[in-house]
């Protein structure tokens, strides 16, 4: 029986390949994701281990709570005097202090070199030859006072020469330092990150940390273990400091990138899952058609003694082989995909560290298992159906598969499955007290059920949809169009399943588009409401904090009336790390809030211990004007504030954190104060002269840019558009899978209708008309999928919008029309190959075809 299965597949290579393709892409995305993230993970691990390779233990400042990466908050610094104490400890062989921070190198074009989201690392190198230094000198010398060394990639890229002045910006304005050397990590590439190394005093001055250190690296005397050393140091440490062994420290260093990598992994795997889900539909459909066409063969097997179990077994073996082959191909295609992704990230300016592709056993096992299991699972229903082929079908022409016992429950079942799916989605969205994982699982499972339910039910809608959507084809295409329309209706189940695969992709694309549009419109409205000044100053990448000195510089520009700044940081409020902001007293000039309690005057009345909160936060914690609110800074300092105002944030989001107090209080209590944005009001408003004056004032801060309100909106929305584009590209993969599904169905249909096509040719249908007939059928199928998908996508988006406050329900009609046109293109492309095959049939042979 296995032989029957294997030979059966070999005898139907084309079908087998088309079926396998449906699963290959999904597996490739899964394996590609795993390979990519494993490779990045290893590269980062190497970097972090390399950095600590000379140390036994590391002393650093300890925040009162875990800080969130990217919030702009930093750990408190150490006193430089600690270094002497540590050096004096008996088991310490050597110890060295360093400071570090974000330091941007200014490129040829006068702008800061920022490669996507990669960090711009600045740090001190106290002694280039010390064991603690993970870098090697490629050229020149280690930095002396007023010198800088940069990484080789940046130096090459910018054509930097030893001895020249290089602009570096950290907290203050750009400083021009002499390039004393070019460095690199010993063994790994660092991706898009830039390196700027200074001697300790220079670094302390740049990072505004005179007399302070961020870290002390310690080496143990021979025979002393890292743990021993750490324990010894720990006893002597002042508060707000910590010591970790080098290995622990490397792990801590890596924790943020680990989070990023794990997010990246989950994100891509989700799309691999979607592609596999669509692939499962395609496989189930192809197999159903194949089985319908093999009825006689299967019945013959039954008459010569094959049991139902053997029939089932042979079909399972067939799909097992398809699954294995597709998974193996997908696995290796994944390697290529990982390479492609590295390249794409690079192209997007987000170069990832790369130490070569890493294919782990885990990747192999997961890719193969996922591919095989999905294939088998998808094959199960058609295979079980095949066991119901009655032996008598061997002798009876056109015997049909008997209806399943459950057939009459199909429609109610489909409705029930859809309903359960919607209930799960609604529960996920509106259920109370659910964790993030529960919400996602509930919604994901709900969406899967909705798709399956609608796909099952779709066969009922096909005749109507085909009549309607096929109307233009019948009008334009003459007899070919007319036939195409009836062909699409001929086997509603088949058309429905084929269209369903496309429906899934389009539903998700539509969902993304509607949500994107909703976010865009609320955000734009929010900016229009809030933003009452003329210019905004942000970092070049629109979200990084910028030095306070940039705002100070802007104040000096001609025509500036006021510069209001928003600082950003993190604090412990009610036991939770919370995003907090601080404002300058003149913020009322720049930001118009809608106050529930209080007025614009609150901005200037905050003083040393005033705060304002949004109404949601106030409700959550029962706060009124006058209520006390205690916050704890990363340095562990407790601040007792009083609520002076409560505002209602617009639905597009608040420009402030949950708790906002004065910049005066912030600067006194938080390390490294930085602005998230500054708003500038100028006499005469936005004018070319004002813009020029502002730009000139900011010339020393290449990482800061001044924008008008419209530019600010566009810039803030920019990342959203990038994210939407990434989502579209990833969803396009599942649409490609469904395209294969249409190809597959059409090829099998052409095969099945060989005789009929021969007859049509014999009575005078031209090749061109045959091609057109197939093409129109394909387009009608695609449009059915698009119609169902777009409707479903809008409905799902509606549910999400109903739950999420900051998104409006806004249907991007233009975009949906584009999607429908894309679906027509998918239909046309899918039809190319099957139509050609159909047109090539020789009428005479086709008629004799048995």
């Amino acid at each position: 029986m296995i032989r029957v299965a294997v030979r059966g597949l070999l005898g139907r290579k084309l079908r087998a390949i088309l079926t396998a393709l449906a699963i290959v892409l999904g597996v490739a995305l899964v394996s590609g994701t795993l390979v990519l993230t494993d490779s990045i993970d290893r590269a980062f691990d190497r970097i972090f281990t390399d950095i600590r390779s000379g140390s036994s233990a590391v002393i650093s400042g300890k925040a009162a709570f875990d800080l969130t990466e990217g919030s702009g908050a930093t750990e408190p610094a150490l006193e430089q005097s600690l270094l002497q104490q540590v050096r004096a400890l008996p088991d310490v062989e050597e110890a060295e202090g360093s400071v570090d921070g974000e330091a941007q190198i200014i490129g040829k074009d006068g702008k800061a070199i920022v490669n996507g989201g990669a960090p711009n690392l600045g740090f001190s190198i106290a002694n280039g030859d010390s064991r603690f230094n993970p870098l090697v000198l490629v050229q020149g010398d280690w930095p002396g006072n007023g010198d800088v060394v940069v990484d080789k990639a940046t130096a090459d890229d910018q054509g930097l020469q030893l001895g020249q002045k290089v602009g570096v910006q950290a907290l203050g304005p750009v400083e021009y330092l002499r390039l004393s050397g070019i460095v690199d990590f010993k063994s790994v590439s660092i991706g898009g990150a830039t390196l700027a190394g200074f001697d300790l005093p220079t670094a302390q001055s740049i990072f505004d940390k005179e007399g302070k250190l961020d870290e002390i690296a310690v080496a143990a005397k021979p025979g002393v273990s890292d743990q021993q050393l750490a324990a010894e140091i720990r006893k002597t440490l002042p508060p707000n400091t910590q010591v970790q062994t080098a290995a622990q420290q490397a792990k801590t260093d890596a924790s943020d990138t680990d989070e990023f990598i794990s997010f990246l992994r989950t994100f891509f795997l989700a799309f691999g899952g979607i592609a596999l889900f669509v692939g499962a539909f395609v496989i189930a459909n192809s197999l159903s058609i194949t089985i319908a066409q093999r009825t006689r063969e299967l019945a013959t097997l039954r008459t010569i003694g094959a049991s139902r179990r053997q029939v089932l077994g042979s079909l399972i073996v067939e799909s097992l082989i398809v699954g294995v082959v597709a998974s193996v191909v997908g696995l290796f295609l994944g390697l290529g995909l990982a390479r492609l992704l590295f390249w794409l990230f690079d192209l997007a300016g987000f170069t990832l560290p790369n130490t070569g592709l890493l294919l782990t056993t885990r990747t192999i096992v997961i890719a193969l298992l996922v591919g095989i299991i999905v294939t088998l699972f998808a094959s199960l229903r058609p295979a079980i159906r095949a066991t119901r082929v009655p032996p008598i079908a061997a002798v009876r022409e056109g015997a049909e598969l008997p209806e399943s016992r459950w057939a009459r429950f199909r429609t109610p079942g489909a409705i029930l499955v859809t309903a359960i799916g919607f209930v799960a989605i609604v529960y996920g969205l509106f259920g109370s007290g659910l964790g993030t994982a529960e919400i996602l699982i509930s919604m994901g499972a709900g969406a899967v059920l909705v798709f399956i339910g609608v796909a099952l039910f779709a066969s009922k809608l096909v005749p109507m949809l085909a009549t309607f959507l096929g109307w233009p084809s019948a009008k334009v295409g003459g007899v070919s169009g007319e036939l195409a329309r009836s062909n699409a209706k001929r086997n509603p189940q088949r058309t429905a399943s084929t269209a369903a695969a496309l429906m899934i992709g389009l539903a998700l694309v539509t969902l993304v588009a509607v949500l994107g549009q909703g976010i865009r419109s609320t955000f734009t409205a929010a900016v229009d409401d809030l933003f009452v000044s003329d210019y905004a100053i942000t970092a070049q990448n629109n979200f990084s904090p910028i030095p306070v000195s940039a705002a100070e510089a802007a104040e000096k520009a001609n025509g500036v009336e006021s510069v209001a700044s928003v600082r950003t940081g993190e604090a412990l409020v009610y036991g939770n790390p919370t995003f907090v902001t601080a404002v300058t007293p003149n913020t009322a000039d720049a930001v118009a809030l809608e106050w529930k309690d209080g007025s614009q005057a609150v901005f200037s009345e905050l003083g040393a211990n005033g705060a304002f909160v949004d109404d949601g936060f106030a409700d959550d914690h029962n706060l009124q004007v006058g209520s006390p609110i205690a916050i704890e800074t990363p340095a562990g300092k407790k601040l007792d504030l009083t609520v002076k105002g409560i505002f209602e944030p617009p639905s597009g989001g608040s420009p402030f954190g949950q708790v906002t107090f004065s910049s005066e209080t912030f600067d006194a209590n938080f390390p490294d104060p930085q602005n998230l944005y500054s708003f500038v009001t100028m006499s005469g408003g936005v004018t070319p002269a004002n813009t020029e004056a502002l730009d000139a004032a900011l010339a020393d801060f290449p990482n800061a840019k001044a924008q008008t309100r419209d530019e600010f909106k566009d810039n803030q929305i920019g990342p959203l558009n990038n994210i939407l584009n990434i989502l579209y590209v990833l969803l396009a993969l599942s649409i490609i899978v469904s395209l294969f599904g249409i190809v597959n169905t059409l090829v099998l249909t052409v095969f099945e209708r060989t005789r009929e096509l021969g007859m049509l040719r014999a009575i005078g249908m031209t090749r061109r008309q045959v091609r057109r007939m197939i093409r129109y059928e394909s387009v009608i199928t695609a449009l059915i999928g698009a119609t169902l998908g777009i409707i479903l996508g809008v409905v799902l988006a509606g549910l999400l919008v109903a739950r999420i406050d900051f998104i409006d329900f806004s249907v991007p009609v233009g975009q949906l029309v584009v999607f429908a046109i894309a679906a027509i293109l998918v239909g046309i492309i899918a039809a190319i190959f099957p139509a050609r095959r159909a047109a090539r049939l020789n009428p005479l042979e086709a008629l004799q075809y048995e």
Binding site: R3, T300, L301, R302, I304, G305, S307, P391, V395
Partner: protein
């Protein structure tokens, strides 16, 4: 046939018949549109004989064969194969019955296109999972004259050769009875005769019991016995006869 004769036959059938049908009825559809394909047919198939079933199209001969072979279930009546009444058998038992007792030869050969001639021939043995008697396989292949064609695929064989493969496949499990459904219906007359010779020979040399459904009088010249069906009933029976005799009987039956 009188009621008395039917009675006698029934008694006989219990004693020595290989396949017996007792008062078989088969109705398709219901009410006004009901079609009575068989209206109470009783018969015995004797061991090691070639029994022909003749009749014009629509006479019910195919229905009769489907019922005898367990491919379809009668509306009323009973089929007994080698002492087992098959009416009550479930799918698993029917499968077992087919493996042990029934061989099929089809009008359109029904070979698996992806398997070679020999693989097609031994497939029933593999499906049954028993030990393959290599000597017997050789004997059968030799006998049907496919020794030099065994590695060919069906598409590489002529119609006659394909039917030989099908015959070998039917004989390979030494079934109690082989049902041949219009075995020459898709062949030219010369090739048809060769196939009929082969069937005749397997009765003679292997003692194979065969039931052949046909509408070709020439075919029935090879039978030991021919049953004539018209309008769902057996109307005449002939012993060993010439094609001419069969034709005449056929004509008489059709006029009646």
């Amino acid at each position: 046939m009188t009621a008395m004769e039917t009675e006698t036959k029934q008694v006989q059938s219990i004693t020595d018949a290989v396949v017996s049908a007792i008062n078989l009825e088969r109705t398709y559809g219901e009410g006004d549109t009901a079609v009575h394909a068989l209206r109470g047919v009783s018969l015995d198939v004797q061991r090691a004989k070639l029994t022909g079933v003749m009749g014009p199209s629509g006479s019910g001969k195919s229905t009769l064969m489907h019922l005898l072979a367990g491919l379809d279930r009668p509306t009323a009546g009973e089929v007994v194969i080698d002492g087992t009444s098959i009416g009550e058998l479930g799918d698993t038992d029917l499968t077992k019955l087919r493996r042990e007792h029934i061989g099929f030869i089809f009008q359109f050969f029904n070979l698996l296109p992806m398997l070679t001639a020999q693989e097609n021939i031994v497939l029933p043995l593999e499906l049954a999972g028993g030990k393959v008697d290599k000597e017997w396989v050789e004997t059968v292949i030799e006998r049907v004259g496919l020794a030099d064609r065994r590695t060919h695929r069906p598409s590489e064989l002529s119609g006659g050769q394909q039917q030989r493969v099908a015959i070998a496949r039917a004989l390979i499990s030494r079934p109690t009875v082989v049902f041949a459904d219009e075995p020459t219906g898709n062949l030219d007359s010369t090739t048809g005769s060769e196939i009929l010779d082969l069937l005749r020979e397997s009765v003679e040399s292997f003692g194979q019991t065969i039931v052949m459904v046909t509408h070709d009088p020439n075919s029935c010249a090879f039978s030991d016995r021919t049953l004539f069906l018209a309008d769902g009933s057996i109307v005449r029976e002939l012993g060993k006869s010439t094609a001419h005799q069969v034709s005449e009987t056929m004509e008489a039956v059709s006029k009646a």
